[in-house]
Amino acid sequence: MQVKVLFFGSLREIVGRAEESAEIAPGARIEDLFAHFRERHHELAPFRPSLVASRNQEFAPWSEPLAAGDEIAFLPPVSGG
């Protein structure tokens, strides 16, 4: 199944794109989706402890299962204001 993945800030610069599509296996969790990108961009690995994930524009635990069409984002520490 397919999900949309968004990257912001430092992650966007590493991945080189703000938005990607990913084809993942049914039953996959947000954590698995991150692993999918980490394999292609090893520089993502050290960011993992400081990231939070969102699913459909709400913060979500890494263990949350994905559904087709989900919009997932990996969010670096926020620094608005």
């Binding site: 912001f8 913060f59 984002a73 969010l75 926020v78 620094s79």
Partner: protein
């Protein structure tokens, strides 16, 4: 503490609150005027502006980037939390994205209330919470390079529950 004339509005109606993400200069006066009504005795405001230095290192300019639809939702969530916690009347929160020069306003928050205590407390709560939960990122440009500002890791993993304060 709602004003008499608001008692018939549904509890969930922050229709009067103003939440915006913009790319042009923010107009503080418009926001202060937006929140104030005849029952208000106090408007507390916070203007976040671009400093000329970061920990003593001279800043040239900043660039803000946001996850806009989620940032909007989180700013609306801040308005809702404020209404639950403080006896306030109306809230306006506007954040600017893109390139900002020294001295420009990146975020402006105005809160009206009958009394000053809740207005101040809600305004402070709003900016403190914005800096913790709203997905916006700031890149600082210096003469010799640029860095993404150190940020705060939003509380998460428990969606639906209010992020702890």
């Amino acid at each position: 503490m709602k004003r008499e004339d608001e008692q018939h509005l549904p509890m969930s109606a922050p229709a009067e609150d103003l939440v915006q993400i913009v790319r042009q200069p923010i107009d503080p006066l418009a926001l202060m005027n937006h929140v104030r009504g005849p029952g208000d005795g106090a408007v507390a405001s916070f203007d976040g502006c671009v400093r000329d230095n970061s920990a003593g290192r001279a800043t040239l300019y900043l660039e803000y980037e946001g996850y806009e639809p989620m940032a909007r939702l989180k700013m609306l969530e801040i308005c809702a939390r404020i209404r639950e916690r403080f006896a306030i009347h109306r809230v306006a929160i506007v954040h600017r994205l893109g390139r900002l020069e020294i001295g420009e306003t990146s975020v402006f928050i105005a809160v009206s209330a009958a009394h000053r205590g809740p207005a101040f407390e809600a305004c402070r709560y709003a900016i403190d919470t914005l800096k913790r939960i709203v997905p916006i990122w700031k890149k600082e440009f210096f003469a010799d390079g640029a860095v993404w500002a150190d940020g705060e890791i939003p509380p998460s993993g428990n969606p639906g529950a209010p992020a702890g304060v």
